[in-house]
């Protein structure tokens, strides 16, 4: 039987959750024995090349590209897992929720105290750039998400235990110390 396949992505995240996944230390050797990676920043496979069993999503949806990637994950993965606070509730990027986009862009590119070089007051507006959404959306508001792993980042032990539980079908152990929101 072939190994279960995992795909991962970072949407509006900081890659901290991927760092936490790498933080499983020597268990990473076991992980490679246990599963095969497909589309993921870890192996740099850019597009899905086969059906995937488990998709790990880091980050919420702040722009049209995030939505597109998330939808392609839903289409190609049997199980989707929201990994980390940003995927679950938008996280720090969602601090902008409630503030009009124009105000955010103005602060970032024109009026902000650290803006120095943009003397002509240009705001990025190229067709190639993904459109910003009106606010940052938790992943489960865009597609169906099957499981949630909270934390900023989720503890390496939590990610490891969850992946192993999903792959082996064993019940997930959830000691008090692994479920944390920061």
């Amino acid at each position: 039987m072939s190994k279960p396949v995992i795909a991962t992505t970072s949407l509006a995240g900081c890659f901290g959750c991927h760092m936490s996944l790498l933080d499983i230390d020597e268990r990473i050797l076991k992980l490679i024995e246990l599963v095969e990676f497909n589309k993921s920043p870890i192996d740099d496979i850019k597009t899905f090349t086969k059906a995937v069993d488990i998709g790990l999503i880091e980050g919420g949806c702040c722009n049209s590209e995030n939505v597109e990637v998330l939808k392609s994950f839903r289409k190609n993965c049997k199980i989707l897992v929201s990994v980390g606070e940003c995927a679950i509730m938008g996280g720090l990027p969602a601090l902008r929720n409630g503030i009009p986009i124009e105000e955010c862009l103005h602060e970032a590119y024109i009026g902000g105290p650290t803006v120095q070089l943009n003397t002509e007051g240009v705001m990025p507006n190229d067709d190639e750039l993904p459109m910003l959404l009106d606010r940052v959306y938790p992943c489960h508001e865009i597609v169906k998400i099957d499981y949630f792993l909270p934390g900023c980042p989720p503890r390496a032990d939590l990610i490891w235990e969850a992946v192993v539980a999903l792959v082996t079908g064993d019940p997930l152990k959830l000691p008090y110390e692994v479920v944390k929101f920061d």
Partner: protein, 231 residues
């Protein structure tokens, strides 16, 4: 000791002084009933409903209900715990609780309850209400994003004449807890720190302080809320 009475919590025989509130009577018997708005020594108000129990088939707040002789209380059944968990979830979605960026994270009672109930994600949609941060006081930051309207600060933070530093403003969905501008300007460090500590969440912060206890050494990092009560 003549006024000792017997009652039961989830079938466990308990004893307490007559007239004690159920939350306290339970704690005396080593049984933890979660609370958010309640504070020992302060008149209870039953605002948050997290301490809900079932007595005689009716749901009641155990912080405001005195225990009586022969009372049978249902507290840790699946249904009651699920109800408490849903209240915690509702509190999380109705405010802006960004735990990773909060100074109170690790010491927050709302977060600790979410840990206790292993809330992986709230079942309700996030509201992302637009709320302000009031930092005009020289000592205190009042972050409205995190306020859960427990009224603890209003009830406990008072000057020598008994006037509250904090008060409710507006009603309904516009309700907020505000710091009196004039009194806030005169607030001393001790009162400000007490206000921060009495706030169950991170809505009241002492200025120029925060993140001084590392992750792993904070109040709820290793032990769930209520573990000091459990026998």
């Amino acid at each position: 000791m003549s006024n000792l009475i017997k009652f039961k919590i989830d079938g466990t025989e308990c004893m307490a002084e007559s007239g004690k509130y159920i939350v306290e009577a339970a704690a005396d018997n080593g049984i933890f009933i979660p609370t958010l708005c309640n504070m020992k020594g302060v008149k209870p108000k039953g605002a948050c409903r997290v301490c809900t129990v079932r007595i005689n088939g009716r749901l009641m707040t155990s912080c405001t209900t005195p225990v009586t002789d022969g009372m049978e209380i249902e507290s840790h059944s699946e249904e009651i715990e699920e109800l408490r968990k849903s209240i915690v979830e509702l509190l999380f979605v109705s405010g802006n609780h960004f735990c990773p960026a909060c100074e109170k994270s690790g010491n927050c009672e709302l977060q600790a309850l979410a840990y206790l109930y292993q809330m992986m994600v709230p079942r309700f949609p996030y509201e992302f209400p637009l709320k302000a941060v009031d930092a005009h006081s020289p000592k205190i930051i009042k972050d409205q994003n995190r306020c859960i309207f427990c009224k603890r600060c209003i009830k406990t933070i008072k000057d020598e004449e008994g006037r509250s530093y904090f008060a409710f403003r507006n009603r309904g969905h516009k309700l907020e807890v505000v710091l009196d501008e004039e009194m806030g300007n005169k607030m001393d460090d001790e009162t400000a720190i007490l206000a921060m500590n009495n706030c169950p969440v991170g809505s009241i912060l002492f200025k120029e302080k925060g993140f001084d206890v590392p992750i792993g050494k904070r109040k709820y990092d290793h032990k769930p809320i209520g573990s000091e009560i459990k026998l």
